[in-house]
Symmetry: C3
Subunit: 309 residues, 3 copies
């Protein structure tokens, strides 16, 4: 995974792996500050510009960043690939450099190709790059909000076990989460169907049967099944997947009394997670979304204040 | 039409039929307040968030809400179905609940399926739902701005006759308008081609020939012909429709001296309304659009202040 | 070209040709004022509304206007053709008039058909029209930012030679630039392949061979090759075009010592301009983008203050 390689400028946030434990703690502390203190009308970065460039579809991440930017008082421009000059063949570098020339200080980017995002961060683009999900490689703000959600519940993660279950192979959050969770002393285990396993991840965390994962974990993090991305038909139907790997009310009873349920979303009700489980008292799924705004405010602040710190 | 059934939480605005005469009057009074008092920079709801979710195309309603939200000082996020997670199969409930988790207090929704909007309003979504047009069922803010426009012209509507003419069967505004007009003592009559009649509406208001409607009405409200939605070819051409049911300058002369022309838009010049009639001195068509902003400001305020009242 | 014909209301900005030398100077002076004095949070037009209507794709112009509007404190609504009522067949006039009715004071329009934009400017639409590029006819704010960039570099343009090179026939900026450059005493020459010549432009400026243009010019303005718009295959490949008409490092050495490189963008690296030339010390390409914001702020201000002046 080469997580420790620091190949880009530190002012950009490309993955959790670039952050020291102290930097992680500082971001989490600022997120808590915003959660406790933000009020409508507050806006320390009034009149400063952020751009959101989403080359792949997204609801929660895009709007979460947009809300975070606006809660900080920032002005926001939203770049939609099809109505803009990428239709004329412009490169990502030229698009971002153009936005920076216009006065944009932070570019939030989701892209299918991590190499393009990394290449960008190695160059002089004139603004800070925040990775909002790059292929299957990394999704640092998701990992940070997951971390924040767990710390709010448990206080401390050392010795806790986090089970990540499902479509490991197609997830962009697993790597980012494994890194930050380990820095906080948590133990990660993986589970899911054979065909959705990922060789890289297995070098970092063991695969266990689903039942064992449920019984052992303090956090059960279910991943979205991206059936559309699997070339061979893995399951005869969504019902079939649900039967074998869905988190049902029945399986929830196997979990430890304090254990919580998480999901990075968007979730498929009735596939990897039962309808009744999504809003179960032990589910943090919608709380994760709320926490995402505070984390993204902290990350934006970290980027904008980077030189000072 | 079951207009009186109150099956959803009152904090949401789904149709005019849920509003008492006093509530209608309160909203109209606030619209007048904003029309008379709003100045650039005023923004009582600064830093509070609205989301516009338009699952069907719209210019005037979407921008009217966006302008209203921004005139109130609100921050706005615009949800466009194709670039977001509904492409990954997310339900309306989960999308709206996610936005609410991010801090959105009001969701303005246009959707083709009224049942989905009603279902939403029966659940705990965490934000206020404003219906911006649901299928052919209801479009309450259009009815409110129509009402406001008529009251500005006539002062009082009791005893006045409003003729709604054209494609009744495919209109989303007819039901909402009939309800609110009746509460203000107006008499509604309908007119239009046989094939565009609507059985539900006929139980509430009589159909009359076009000429009679023109001679009797104080308000002639022309509806957009949605020829594309009719399965059988009703007319050989738009010209043919115009000849039989278009509001021409010649037909305008049949109207009473004080009578006004309205249209919810978008209008088809040369089809249901002649080019020269759109901006005729007796036409309120563009004034309706201007009034829509004040009404939507009042409706947003009503939603946000609901608990206090 | 009929540049002098003043057929529309002066409050709209349709082309540079409508501006006197004094008006041009006033706009340039205000651009400089904004460049030197703008700070985050400044916003003289807070709470006033601009609409961006881009019927053709654009990155730099659209975002440049949006950033300019927001730097002035304006509220912005962005109109995207496919999700709005033009899908229902609404005319440009009715769309703009509707936006004006909602409170929009300035409409920034890019459209493929200049006649529609001109027709709009002859009518009473209720808001100011700023042309953000109309077909191949005119793109006044691009010409103004080009002018501003040249004046910043040279101080004075009288006697200077500007070579415009490449796809003259499909460019929207050539006409607008020729007009404003002449008013400042600059001499324009043209160059490029035979099939990309434009008869109208040739009446105003001579065509010269590429090498001669490079040796003579104080400004070398390269135009984007719009190969996709040429019906006959002009070149066997992009490489072929680059070889014959691309601005390479080797050709750059032919230029005068003080001469600068410009490009209205979006540029094709490796086609009309070599990769290494785009960010060469003599290139003003990204500075042009930065200047575009200050120019557009000045143009918006000019439109909004028009009546006062």
């Amino acid at each position: 995974m080469a997580l420790m390689t620091q190949e880009w400028k530190r002012e950009h946030l490309l993955d959790t792996s670039q952050l020291t434990l102290n930097e992680l703690k500082a971001i989490l502390a600022r997120a808590r500050y915003w959660e406790e203190n933000w009020r409508p009308g507050m806006g320390p970065y009034r009149g400063r510009f952020a751009a959101n460039l989403f080359f792949e579809p997204s609801t929660r991440t895009r709007f979460s960043f947009e809300v975070a930017e606006k809660k900080l008082g920032m002005e926001v421009v939203n770049f939609t690939p099809d109505v803009s000059s990428t239709a004329k063949g412009e490169s990502l570098y030229d698009t971002v450099k153009t936005l920076a020339s216009l006065g944009v200080e932070v570019a939030v980017i989701r892209h299918s190709d991590p190499e393009q995002v990394k290449a960008l961060a190695r160059q002089e683009v004139g603004c800070k790059i925040l990775n909002a999900g790059a292929g299957h490689w990394a999704h640092p703000t998701q990992a940070l909000l997951d971390l924040y959600t767990m710390l709010k519940h448990f206080g401390d993660l050392s010795g806790k076990t986090v089970a990540i279950v499902g479509d490991i192979a197609h997830s962009r959050v697993v790597h980012s989460n494994m890194w930050s969770l380990k820095r906080f002393g948590a133990h990660v285990i993986l589970s899911g169907p054979q065909a959705m396993r990922d060789r890289d991840c297995e070098q970092e965390a063991p695969y266990v049967p689903f039942e064992e994962a449920l019984q052992t974990a303090d956090v059960v993090m279910m991943l979205r099944v991206q059936l559309e991305r699997h070339q061979e038909k893995l399951f005869t139907s969504k019902q079939d997947y649900h039967k074998q790997y869905g988190l049902t009310l029945q399986r929830l009873r196997l979990m430890k009394p304090e254990a919580i349920i998480m999901h990075p979303g968007p979730f498929n009700r009735g596939v990897e997670v039962a309808d009744e489980v999504v809003e179960h008292p032990r589910s943090k799924i919608f709380e994760q979304k709320a926490n995402g705004v505070w984390i993204r405010m902290a990350v934006l602040e970290h980027a904008l204040e980077g030189e000072k710190a």
